[in-house]
Symmetry: C2
């Protein structure tokens, strides 16, 4: 039983007659191969990554599991090749999701002039150049009755630095709404961004790897934040999780770190640290998320 | 007694009838104000930085001391305004010097279209885009008889990633030469790049600050490496020092880290770590330069 995933917040969406990802009941996600070289390059990345023994296990968990490719009936009804991946939201109920494209630059050095010009324009018009990342989409669970707060794509596309700051706060607030432009309550900051298993701790793990790894450069790749507000409101773990997705523009690192991704990641980490500092007792010390008191011991 | 400094490896050089920096006997460096807004912006940066109480002292030492501005007889013979700075090489004998422009992007977000296009071309043609930094110039002391190894500006401008790797090794070798394209001995790696006072340790201090500071963004700014081979060969400290110079394109950080500078700095750190790992017993652990043995204790 294939269906259209409802947790997607950015990228191509399947509709009647339109090519887009599908999911099944067994926890698999089927992403149609893009017809240009992006499709084959994403497959090439997944094949390389899944067989690369230099990737530590604690890093591998940030990537969807790859199950190969499959020609199958697409959302358009026609046969089409798909990348078969783990559906990273399959075991979740009403996940809140944010998709953040990392890096001030979304084009690889060897790209064509036309592609550089196109990406550069988008990078300058969005917050990619000023902040080192841009939000591509988000949805935040409100309640079973009210559903989700999900800003319109056009609003997200026009978001400036202050809007991004606000969206990162709305994402962990009990009361997000389109109107509210000031003072989201950030009531879930400590359970989603903070703590030893929170999003910030996971980003710091990724950062340590990016300071060292020279295997891949991840252009136009996204970091996905996911958590469950339903659980968090009950006092349970928010099940906060970070995943990397979208690898159509990954290139070989050739002995050089991915300074473009790393810089953007550090900028994002700084934004989340600020929110935690202002709203909770967590603070970042020596690359670790610590309760503030620990500094006094 | 004003004279033309001989330790300069990049930027404008004073010649008869040509505007360039001068030094005096009292340890001051006179940099002619550039006539466009670059001059006034560099002065504005020095004024802001020197009076900013949020700059920690251990970071302040990476910047030349600022003594104000002065209208004086320039290297051309005419009166011209100058920025008066500490001559960071005044107490040195035959310093080996390398000038590295940091950041994949040398233009600020608010730059004009023409300026962006000009910088982007240079950034793509050089190693700025692929490596996150480019070498702007260097000179390495050989001996009193042979003087300095100083590659021609054109050769430096054309340097690709492999050339940069080689120049970073030649810089701390006893035997640099234009011909030698393989296997510089890196005999001074541990005394210049390594150790608790070496260049890598200083860069790691800078990195920690750049992960946190959101006051300034340093576009087209250079990191200068300096050391004294004469001392190192005698078994004394090489007096290795890192300085930041060239602040004509510094902008306000506005609450965002300088992810462009930080990414390039991390890339440079990775290159030096590699050289140390291959040639010495030093290794980088948890943001510190450590003798490799310490991991075994």
């Amino acid at each position: 039983m294939l269906k259209i995933p409802d947790h997607q917040v950015a990228g191509h969406e399947a509709r009647v007659g339109k090519l887009g990802p599908l999911i099944d009941d067994s926890g698999r996600f089927y992403k149609p191969l893009q017809s240009d070289k992006r499709g084959s390059e994403e497959v090439a990345f997944y094949e390389s990554f899944s067989s690369n023994t230099e990737i530590p296990e604690h890093i591998r968990r940030f990537f969807p599991i790859f199950y190969g490719t499959k020609v199958m009936k697409a959302s358009t009804g026609a046969e089409h090749p798909h990348i078969v991946l783990q559906d990273i939201a399959s075991s979740r109920i009403n996940p809140s999701v944010m998709d953040i494209k990392i890096g001030a630059r979304t084009w690889a050095p060897e790209s064509s002039e036309a592609y550089v010009a196109k990406c550069l324009r988008k990078d300058r018009e969005s917050t990619s150049v000023p902040l080192g990342f841009r939000i591509s989409g988000l949805r935040v669970y409100i309640s079973d009755e009210l559903g989700f707060y999900k800003p319109h794509r056009d609003a997200i596309r026009k978001a400036g630095p202050d809007d991004v700051k606000l969206l990162l706060r709305k994402f962990i607030s009990s009361n997000p709404s389109a109107e509210m432009e000031t003072d989201p309550d950030c009531s879930l900051a400590s359970s989603v961004y903070g703590g030893p298993d929170g999003i910030l701790a996971q980003l710091l793990e990724l950062k340590a790897w990016f300071e060292d790894q020279t295997i891949y450069h991840f252009y136009a790749c996204s970091i996905l934040f996911m958590y469950e507000k339903g659980l968090a409101l009950k006092g349970a773990s928010s099940n906060a999780e970070v995943k990397l997705i979208d690898f159509a523009h990954v290139t070989e690192g050739r002995g050089v770190i991915d300074h473009n991704f790393l810089g953007g990641l550090c900028s994002l980490i700084r934004f989340l640290s600020d929110i935690l500092k202002e709203t909770t007792k967590f603070t970042v010390e020596n690359g670790q998320v610590e309760p503030e008191e620990s500094g006094l011991i």
